[in-house]
């Protein structure tokens, strides 16, 4: 399993990377940790003429707080997120998601930005990013823009990134008071990808009613989505067990559901409602210390 020949480029700065991305256009492919791209190149599902390795741009490897946001550089590895004490305290959903990705070796090299840009329909990060109302930064020769997570995933392995743009960072609000978040997943036992993965962030108001809830779901359809029907049922209401369960039953409403040998569409819909309910229950427990 050897990829087709290609030319390798290893830019040392973001400016150089942007120049190469523009220069090679359709013939170039960006690589971060390589754990989505290289398997595809070995199977020759992808055969780019030019590989632009962003792996040396250490300026894009960081986790920090600024202006009330938590900002994570695109090249931050799954392991760095899994082991971040800042995130464990201020956004436990992210380390919980990281821990569920692949295995220890994959988490050492795979990156947040690489996974998001790849937009695999069974990847974990998209559900987490949706549940956090995160924003994704895209840099181009012309400047930078922030894209809301809800607008980022366009379709099967397709994102809102335009040609010539590089995903450089993700930012998200830290956990507010009286709020809880979590990520729960059923792993495909062979591949480790999500049969279903659910990220939830839930906040209560003074009256202990649900003030805000965001639910990201992956593995079910062609792209990760917000379970808007469930959120609508819950907003402003007291979070009784029965209400959570009834709302969660709508987890796959209106979604075109994947079906494969391991899980039929019907089973996936069922899993979606079960995992959304469990994730809501756990997030609620954490919101009520």
């Amino acid at each position: 399993m050897i990829p087709e020949p290609f030319e390798y480029h290893s830019p040392q700065s973001l400016e150089e990377a942007l120049r190469l991305v523009t220069e090679f256009g359709e013939e170039g492919k960006m690589m971060a940790g390589g754990h989505s791209l290289l398997p595809m190149m070995k199977l020759r599902l992808a055969s780019p003429r030019h590989v632009i390795d962003l792996g040396r741009l250490s300026e894009l490897r960081y986790i920090r707080e600024s202006d009330g946001w938590i900002e994570i550089g695109a090249l931050t590895t799954h392991f760095q997120i899994e082991s971040s004490s800042l995130l464990r305290e201020k956004c436990p959903l992210l380390p919980e998601t990281a821990r569920e990705i692949g295995d220890a070796q994959v988490r050492n090299l795979g990156t947040l930005g690489g996974s998001l840009a790849h937009a695999d329909p069974a990847a974990d990060w998209p559900a987490a990013i949706l549940a956090l109302d995160a924003e994704i930064r895209a840099n181009s020769a012309g400047g930078e823009r922030w894209i809301a997570a809800q607008d980022f995933f366009v379709g099967l392995m397709t994102t809102a990134l335009a040609p010539g743009e590089i995903l450089t960072a993700v930012r998200l609000p830290p956990l507010p008071r009286r709020a809880g978040d979590t990520y729960l997943k059923l792993r495909q036992p062979a591949s480790g990808f999500a049969v279903v993965g659910v990220g939830v962030r839930l906040a209560l108001n003074e009256a202990a009613h649900i003030e805000r809830v965001a639910i990201g779901v992956t593995g079910i359809g062609p792209k990760a989505y917000r379970a808007a029907a469930v959120e609508r049922e819950l907003l402003g209401k007291p979070p009784t067990a029965r209400r959570l369960a009834e709302a969660a039953a709508r987890a796959a409403d209106g979604v075109q559901t994947n079906s494969d040998l391991f899980a039929s569409a019907e089973y996936r819909k069922h899993l979606a409602s079960v995992y959304v309910r469990r994730a809501l229950e756990l997030a609620l427990e954490r919101a009520n210390p």
Binding site: M1, I2, P3, E4, P5, F6, E7, Y8, S10, G34, H35, L38, P39, K42, V51, D53, G55, F79, G102, D103, A104, Q105, V106, N108, L109, A190, S191, G192
Partner: protein, 160 residues
Amino acid sequence: MKIRVKINGVTREDDVEPRLLLVHYLRELAGLTGTHIGCETSICGACTVLMNGAAVKSCTVLAVQADGSEITTIEGLSGRNGQLHPLQQGFWEEHGLQCGYCTPGMILAAHQLLSRNPHPSRAEIRKALEGNLCRCTGYQHIVKAVEWAAEKVRAQAEHA
């Protein structure tokens, strides 16, 4: 493309094709065949080596990505006089292998675990080895082998 890699303490320079995988580089150019090729799809972990101390699946890394890095393979674990590393001893003592194909990868993944967590529980050992498949012994003896090694490393540290 010219690359410079320090493998088991020895620096070498080679001119490689960009598409050359690290596992092929280690086996065919460096002659270190202790790193095994299993599934070639980053599932089985037989090709696990340490790159700058972190366990990676060398079938899913380009040799050019390893330029400037330090690599440790199974050949680099034993002492200069051939003395086995505690993990190697543990796999011997606890019968952590039958055919041995997965063993180098198991040992290097376990090496990373012990460097991050010297006192792992059984559950933590299993979690750390989830990226390594064994198709003959099963995992009981492998987990025991890692426990044996952890104990040995602790005893050595106390002794020192």
